[in-house]
């Protein structure tokens, strides 16, 4: 029996008889699959639609699709929504939401429109200014934690490189690397710059 069929059956009255026929290994694989399905939470538990679109746009400008998928395809905005809902405390959540308000305010002052309506080039330029502010703090040995963009960039980087596409397509991670080479000649990956 295919796992896909099992998942479908589990939705109906036949669930129990079908489960009884499973070996422990099959039941475990199924359990993991179900778990994964259930935990892919619908986005928007904390972020409203506009905020979600804003977060998705910022994340995609930080890590865009190139020769591999970017943050949007990696569903980084949904990960950030989950983090805001279930991981951050009130202070961290508020800091993030305030940062989103400020980024739109900045965008309106400079360009007369909210962030999501800017061209990609203008979005990137605005984020680069924020990134420079964080770097200035870093250069002065001052804490960067309080800056919204540091929080946003950390969430984006973590969310992207630990996502399904980030792990498999960008990092090309394999669970079993096949031995150990302590000093392997390193050939840089082909860089997909346009």
């Amino acid at each position: 029996m295919q796992r896909r069929d099992l998942l479908r059956i589990l939705g109906g009255a036949l669930a129990l008889p079908a489960l009884r026929g499973l070996s422990p290994a099959e039941a475990w694989a199924l359990g993991r699959e179900l778990h994964r399905t259930i935990e892919r939470l619908p986005a928007g538990r904390v972020l409203d639609e506009h905020q979600l679109r804003t977060v998705a746009a910022i994340a995609e400008r930080i890590i865009p699709a190139t020769d591999t998928p970017g943050a949007r395809e990696a569903r980084v905005a949904e990960f950030i929504d989950l983090m805001l809902a279930d991981w951050y405390d009130d202070a961290g959540r508020t800091r993030f939401l305030d940062g989103l308000v400020q980024i739109d305010a900045r965008s309106r002052v400079t360009h007369g429109a909210p962030f999501v309506e800017l061209t990609e080039a203008r979005q990137t330029a605005l984020l680069d200014e924020l990134d420079a502010e964080v770097q200035a703090l870093r250069d002065a040995d001052l804490p960067t934690d309080g800056h919204f963009f540091q929080q946003m960039k950390w969430l984006t980087v973590h969310g992207y490189y630990t996502s399904d596409v980030g792990v498999r397509e960008e990092l090309k991670w394999t669970p079993i690397p096949g031995g150990y080479d302590p000093c392997k000649a390193f050939v840089p990956r082909t860089v997909g710059e346009s």
Binding site: I62, D131, P182
Partner: protein
């Protein structure tokens, strides 16, 4: 009627309990192993190959749940989102400590215990350690010397498989090693730097670890996936679940009961012998008693101590086998976290392939050949070198395609030394029963009073200096030395609360881990330690357990127990 009498009962199924089970069954005894926690099914519970995106918080931890249920466990280094199911629930398993002196008791209550997530570092003690208390007039003298334990180290290493390099050092005796793992190129640079500048005093070697570098007794060599502590489906690192317990099972003389909380050892005043244990089923809460001619406590240092306190009788009002009054005293751990980190220049065209689950080791060099003016005993360094990955992206300037693609190349090589130091046995560092508090099964809990002393703090400060010196000697740049303030317990090497000694008036156990007071009662986990050494202690617990089991069976067969 279900069986309720065995030749021997072993309390605990971890690194010590597994060895007791193996040795006692192989020597012909019918053995009941009681594990307080749940069974572990490797097919379900081992998750070493599961990708990070299958975890809800992608490895960042379930902060809200940790704060509510694992506020102690989640402070420990090996605790992570992926392995939180291998650590106890702190609400169900409470203990208390002095208000101004935090102590972190990091526990695994499940089949295999902490042998599932242990650090796998495997170093013998030497006579420098066994003679230290006597030489310095600290605590009591160990009742054994290296020659007593050496054949048992051989016995254990031969069975579990330990990879490492032979060095011929008196303070860190060689063992029966499988081929060593390899240092990476930046570690070779530091090794050479140390040899050049400190050759007659210090050296760097690959860690000696209970991980197979070749097939060994039917277990496969390591495949370098990395996170051993999440379980290993090929049994390439040693834990009791995949190695000693199956050996015991193969004799046909093992009975294993999980979810069995041992509340107390039963003692017969007339016969002056332990007669069995009182057990609470952790699910039904039903109590029952099991009998045996021989009892081995292998529940972990503090759990075994707690069981003895909870087994007080009219003859032993302060805890079973505690006529000395030393039960609970002399709690030790290893200090942890003096060190230094730096960047190793060059080697840009070299990377490491595979995840070596082992680091470097710098054997103890303080108070070996010469006496240090500020402190006694010593410390060893663990650590290693690696290149930065994508994680540096969050603190690197840039956005966009160039930023993303720059993160494809590894970052610079960095090297970290991380020290582990010996803690002296202080009578004032101790545990007692806290009669006010009970755990989820109604068993009275422990109260811990522990703090580092002056000697420990001076060692930690020295670690930062010597680590920075070695990095400097190796040409490292951006060196930063550190002294972390890790509270006692976080080394997860708590030990010493039922110490061995020659005199029944000042120690709980004799040289065979046998209680001075009750001849058929043994304690063979970390509780038995008379001093701590600075070496990771698990192999010593294993060797002492095997030695105690051989002795106990011999005595039993001669009807001397």
């Amino acid at each position: 009627m279900a069986q309720n009498t065995w030749d021997a009962i072993v309390v605990g199924s971890g690194i010590s309990g597994g060895w007791a089970a193996k040795e006692l069954t192989e020597r012909g005894l019918d053995v009941l192993v009681l594990e307080a926690g749940r069974p572990i099914d490797p097919a379900r519970d081992y998750i070493e190959h599961q990708p990070v995106y299958e975890f809800k918080f992608r490895g960042l931890g379930n902060r809200q749940r940790d704060r509510d249920r694992q506020f102690i466990q989640s402070v420990a280094g090996p605790f992570e989102e992926e392995t939180s199911h291998f650590f106890v629930d702190d609400v169900d398993n409470p203990y208390t400590f002095d208000e101004d002196k935090p102590f972190y008791w990091i526990r695994g209550r499940h089949l295999g215990g902490r042998s599932l997530m242990w650090g796998r570092q495997t170093y013998r003690l030497s006579d420098l350690d066994f003679e230290a208390n006597l030489r310095e007039g600290v605590g009591v003298d160990w009742p054994i010397r290296y020659d007593d334990i050496a054949p048992w180290y051989d016995h254990v290493e031969d069975f579990i498989g330990v990879s490492g390099e032979r060095l011929g050092l008196p303070q860190l005796p060689d063992g029966k090693f499988l081929p060593p793992m390899q240092l990476n190129c930046a570690e070779e640079v530091v090794k050479a730097g140390i040899a050049r500048h400190f050759g007659d005093e210090r050296l760097l070697t690959i860690g000696r670890c209970a991980i197979l570098t070749q097939e060994h007794r039917g277990r496969a060599a390591c495949h370098y996936c990395g996170p051993c502590w999440r379980g290993c489906i090929t049994h390439s690192y040693f834990n009791s679940l995949g190695t000693t317990l199956p050996a015991a099972e193969a004799t046909g003389r093992l009975t294993l009961r999980t979810n069995s909380v041992v509340a107390a050892v039963l003692y017969d005043e007339q016969r002056d012998r332990a007669t069995g244990v009182r057990v609470i089923d952790s699910i039904t809460r039903h109590e029952r008693e099991y009998s045996a001619r021989l009892i081995f406590l292998c529940a972990s240092a503090l759990e075994s101590t707690r069981i003895l306190f909870n087994s007080a009788t009219s003859r032993f009002p302060d805890g079973l086998a505690n006529s000395s009054g030393e039960l609970g005293n002399n709690l030790m751990d290893h200090t942890m976290g003096g060190g230094a980190t730096g960047t190793i220049p060059g080697l840009e065209d070299r990377i490491v392939q595979g995840n070596r689950p082992n680091g470097i080791y710098v054997p103890r060099f303080r108070n070996v050949k010469t006496r240090h003016a500020d402190f006694t005993r010593g410390y060893g360094f663990q650590g290693g070198a690696g290149r930065g990955g994508w994680g540096r992206g969050a603190s690197t300037r840039g956005v966009g395609a160039a930023f993303k693609h720059a993160l494809r190349d590894p970052g610079p090589w960095s090297f970290t030394f991380y020290g582990f130091g010996e803690c002296l046995p202080y009578a004032t560092n101790r545990v007692r029963l806290n009669p006010e508090r009970k755990d989820a099964w109604g068993v009275p809990v422990l109260h811990v009073s522990a703090e580092w002393g002056d000697n420990e703090r001076k060692q930690l400060a020295d670690m930062a200096v010597t680590a920075a010196e070695m990095l400097e000697a190796s040409g490292a740049r951006d060196i930063s030395a550190f002294v972390q303030d890790n509270a006692p317990g976080l080394g997860i090497h708590e030990m010493g609360t039922a110490r061995m000694g020659r005199d029944p008036r000042t120690s709980v156990l004799n040289g065979y881990c046998q209680t001075h007071d009750v001849p058929n009662l043994f304690v063979t986990d970390g509780a038995c330690m008379t001093s701590a050494g600075c070496q990771n202690p698990s192999i010593t617990y294993m060797a002492l357990t095997a030695r105690a089991a051989a002795y106990a069976v011999d005595k039993l067969n001669r009807r001397e127990l």
